[in-house]
Amino acid sequence: MRTFVLGFGLVVLLGGAAAPAAAQWLVTDARRIGMGGLSLGRSGSTARYNPAYRAVAEKAALHGQPKVTIPIPLGIIQFLHDHPHLSSDPAFDYKSRGFNPILVANTILNLPLYLEVKQAPTPTNDVAFTIGQDSLRVNLGATSQLVPEDQFGISGSSRPLDPGFGYKGFRVGVMGWLHDDAELQLGDKLLAFLRDSVPARHNTLYSADVHGLVAGGFAPTVSYAGRIAGDTARGFYAGGALHYYVGVGYGRTDGLVGDSTSDTLFAGSNPVNPIGRTLTQYSKPGNTLGHGIGGDIGVAWVSGPIEIGFGVNDIGATITWPDTRLDSAFYNHSGYSKPVANHVETKTKLPVSYIANLAYSVGNTTLGADVLNTGRGSVVHVGGEQRLGLFAVRGGVARDQRKRIEFGFGGGVRFGGLGLDVGFWTHTNSLSNERGITMATSLSIY
């Protein structure tokens, strides 16, 4: 039972945390946080998703950006204060009965780098369960709003390594790539039962659709980035990359998990009647390699104080896997798996990502905006900075992948080549619609 509780709690947590995690985590620059997560110049996401930015000169002075940012992880102090004996803390010891995977997952998804200034509150309402031999109804109250109506999950497409060499704008390299995607969608009946307090019915399947995929490999890449027109003060830049994706391995499963009620809701000695149906496809490392071709394009225009960019990644990146095995699995009281086919060809597709950014810097003022979509909804950042002598004040607004508005604000002080920045960022978690506030601090070297 506890395993089940923790398991489902993890799903709720991961589902809710996925979007903010993708949008926020590992941003260690307090200055950027103070501007609502805005990426400026070649910082943040712009260089990653727009190949033209490889040719755009660093506008460090123009944007007031430091050369190096060193995070000051005050949140770790707070975390260690809360968990002084981490090695013996039962919540983090998987062998302990007190092991709490939800806390562990939450710690990983929300790395304690930042100081939690204001905790996002969780609902504290009562929840009611009405149980009879042939009746079951749940009223979760305000907590029912936590039940996700839409598909939720975690996905990402990363390029962990990209070694190579270049000459006059051309570059040849080998890029690592990794794509992961985990999704869950509650069925209508289960959703109504949990969210709308609809009583359980006889002979009804309460289920959720599940999907998981992980694929990885490397991609020999030829790319170009250069200024097409103009000069360093006013120029138009373009970039492109052609990837030959080589797939080392992948696994994918799609299906349905749930349970069905019988003629009487609570009858017999069998407490659960789980049902699972999945189709699993995989090409293990060592099988024939997958292959595919795709590309990135990007443009950037710099004109005095204005900078505009647009980039698209993984266009047409469909990977063909020539040696795939397909297995179907079915579970109802007992399970079995049946091979469907082997040595067949299947295809996977990398999500197309795009970024659009705009920056305006004049005098001691910098304003900017960017939109980033990595295949699971757009993240929008709008922010700015005003430098006042030694000091700087910053503010920004972000809309995350769950379409929630978050706010950033902060400031900094600079002494010659050294600066100290503080940034505050509101955030919501999967358990509440109310915002918490985290504080990030970092040292900057100019």
């Binding site: 509150p121 504290t124 929840v127 369960f129 149980i131 009746s135 979760l140 936590l146 407490p271």
Partner: protein, 177 residues
């Protein structure tokens, strides 16, 4: 009990989200007993040798929350009708719960309700009982609870005790994790 998982799913959502809120379970014990036709129990006094004054032990699917949860309240609300056929006296209707099927009737009843009976009349005895003993409260955290009923007669009487309602209200604090 195939719907139990639904309860568990709901409970996990509640557990993840309800913070310091409470989980309130309203369990219709009567429905489980009547479904097994164990809601009616003849009584006779004095009890002849070899005649049982109890029902077969019944199984009630409970919460299954484990020992880390804190039970705030366990309350039983219901009513029993003593349909008396003959004689004048009193009848005691006792309800037992236990985590082991074999020991349900060996201990003291969790609660009992008595009523005077007269020939040809039906006596209705409602009850509303709060369980105080912490150990007894915690019993409902188990996934399965066994229930038994005993009807004992005082006087030379005979009739039937019919349970018409029995609901258990269990309130737990949020310490599922």
């Amino acid at each position: 009990m195939r719907a139990k998982w639904l309860c568990l799913v709901a409970l996990t959502v509640a557990a993840a989200g309800c913070g310091e809120g409470r989980a309130i379970f309203d369990i219709d014990v009567f429905s489980f007993l009547s479904g097994a036709k164990a809601d009616t129990l003849p009584y006779v006094g004095p009890l002849p040798p070899g005649v049982p004054d109890t029902i077969p032990v019944q199984t009630v699917q409970s919460l299954g929350l484990g020992s880390s949860s804190v039970v705030d309240t366990v309350r039983f609300i219901g009513s029993v009708d003593f349909v008396n056929a003959s004689g004048t006296g009193s009848v005691t209707f006792a309800v037992y719960f236990d985590s082991l099927k074999t020991t349900v009737y060996t201990g003291t009843p969790w609660f009992s309700v008595s009523g005077p009976v007269t020939p040809g009349a039906t006596t209705t005895s409602p009850f509303d009982v709060d369980i105080i003993d912490p150990a007894m409260k915690r019993l409902f955290l188990a996934s399965t609870v066994y229930v038994g009923i005993r009807a004992s007669a005082t006087g030379t009487i005979s009739g039937t005790a019919k349970l018409s309602a029995l609901r258990a209200r269990v309130v737990i604090q949020d310490k599922i994790f």
